[in-house]
Symmetry: C2
Subunit: 277 residues, 2 copies
């Protein structure tokens, strides 16, 4: 018997299926349906509410690209906040940066962290680092209570359905703005430009109302719908496209490099059109 | 009843499914299984041997990126050859370039051209242009018989299985080299770097044995496995990365622009590693 998992409904009329060796873990947490499966093509995979979150084969792309672009745009990213990201992949990348002194992870679902530590140690390996603080609470509440504190805030959320809806709303963006220091940088995963023609311009608009510099960049992520994923940045002071990267510390990465940092902001015409002011 | 088409086996353990409104046409040609289906998400789609070839929604990416990078690297691309590409999408793009005087399409399967003209007129619309010659023959034989003739050769083939196998072999690459003029440019679609860790370096190696300048570039194509697609170029004289594009004629495109031309050659570390000498 062949076992396949099929992700449906994230994009209507489209489905991605992955052959499964074994379902290693499945539970209903207080927030969502959580599963870990082992697959021949991507190794172990994490699913939340039947949507592919991360996997051993291509997770480096998402986690490097959501972290290093902002970290290397800021001249001194000492204190970093991650909202969501309970698998630990963004944290693992953040603590590679030599200037990071403290990284706070605020994940609403404790079971995502615990299960990732157990089944995805390659991804979760940074969560026990002494620089890292892991909190199990609502990210929206957390940023409301922490003003003028962070150099970089990374929103590593699920899709804008279920527990993550509030992380795509303008009130939350305003709270993040206030939680950043006066030269801080905000970055969020913002879905595919091929399938979110309304969401992406709306996020741009909301961030433009707050930040003098708002930019979108792209990366190749095979397991997300369309394989083309966007990240949106709001910067109070530093421009990610013109920043001098010649002194990049050069820690090990598999996707990110200073040339990719710049090239990721070069957009196809249809994406330029999508976010034009 | 919901009808879905599933592309399996192009990458083992992975499948992409598309909801189908209606199967508009299906036949066994002399060379392959050909189908045209209408879908809610991608509009009309062309399948060959059950593999997604092109579709109305995202075809612009592939057809612009296989054509304009080479055309705008060459200072005077008067005569262009396309091997394969029977849907006509590459031809439609090529004849946008004001310097192109003649474009020859050599497609082995007449039914791909005829069916595309009937069902995909948005893609096939350039095939009746007076600058275009369409020939139904074996591309390998054609390049063997046409020496020192073309400024640009574009290999718009199916995957390296079935009728296209010979289009990934070093004998064919040598024939294309000889079919190009002394400053000619060769470009071929060369699959996904996420799933073809052996094929892509092999193609690089074969082209490096012929051309002083060999480069790989990438584009976002949602309907091809992984969404990340590679093209490999061999150039006798002109370097696509350093070419001056400030005089780009600026015909209408939805993906290509001079900045994308350059950024497409900026590779993630794992792809650099894949093709390093």
């Amino acid at each position: 018997m062949e076992l396949w998992f099929t992700e449906k409904d994230t994009v209507p009329g489209l489905a991605l299926s992955v052959k499964v060796n074994k379902v290693l873990h499945r539970e209903k947490t207080d927030f969502q349906d959580l599963a870990i499966v082992d697959t021949p093509i991507f190794g172990r995979m994490l699913f939340l509410d039947n949507i592919i979150m991360t996997n051993i084969k291509d997770e480096f792309v998402y986690h490097e690209m959501i972290s290093h672009v902002a970290l290397n745009t800021h001249p001194n990213p000492q204190k970093v906040l991650v909202i969501g990201g309970g698998d630990g992949g963004a944290i693992r990348e953040i603590i590679k940066h030599p200037k990071v002194e403290k990284a706070v992870l605020v994940e609403i679902d404790r079971r995502v962290v615990e299960t990732s530590k157990e089944y995805l140690p390659e991804i979760a390996c940074g969560l026990d680092d002494p620089k890292v603080e892991v909190l199990y609470e609502d990210g929206i509440k957390y940023v409301n209570e922490h003003k003028n504190e962070f150099d970089v805030i990374i929103v590593d959320s699920t899709d804008p359905i279920g527990p993550a809806v509030g992380l795509f709303e303008s009130n939350f963006y305003k709270s993040c703005y206030d939680s950043l220091k006066e030269d801080g940088i905000f970055v969020a995963q913002t879905e595919s430009p091929y399938y979110n023609e309304e969401l992406i311009p709306q996020i741009q608009k909301n961030l433009r109302a707050l930040y003098p510099i708002t930019k979108l960049y792209l990366a190749f992520i095979p397991t997300y719908p369309g394989g083309c994923w966007s990240f949106t940045m709001g910067c109070k002071k530093y421009d990610p496209e013109t920043v001098d990267l010649s002194n990049w510390p050069g820690y090990p990465t598999r996707y990110y490099n200073p040339e990719i940092h710049k090239a990721a902001f070069v957009l196809p015409n249809f994406v330029r059109e999508l976010i034009k002011e």
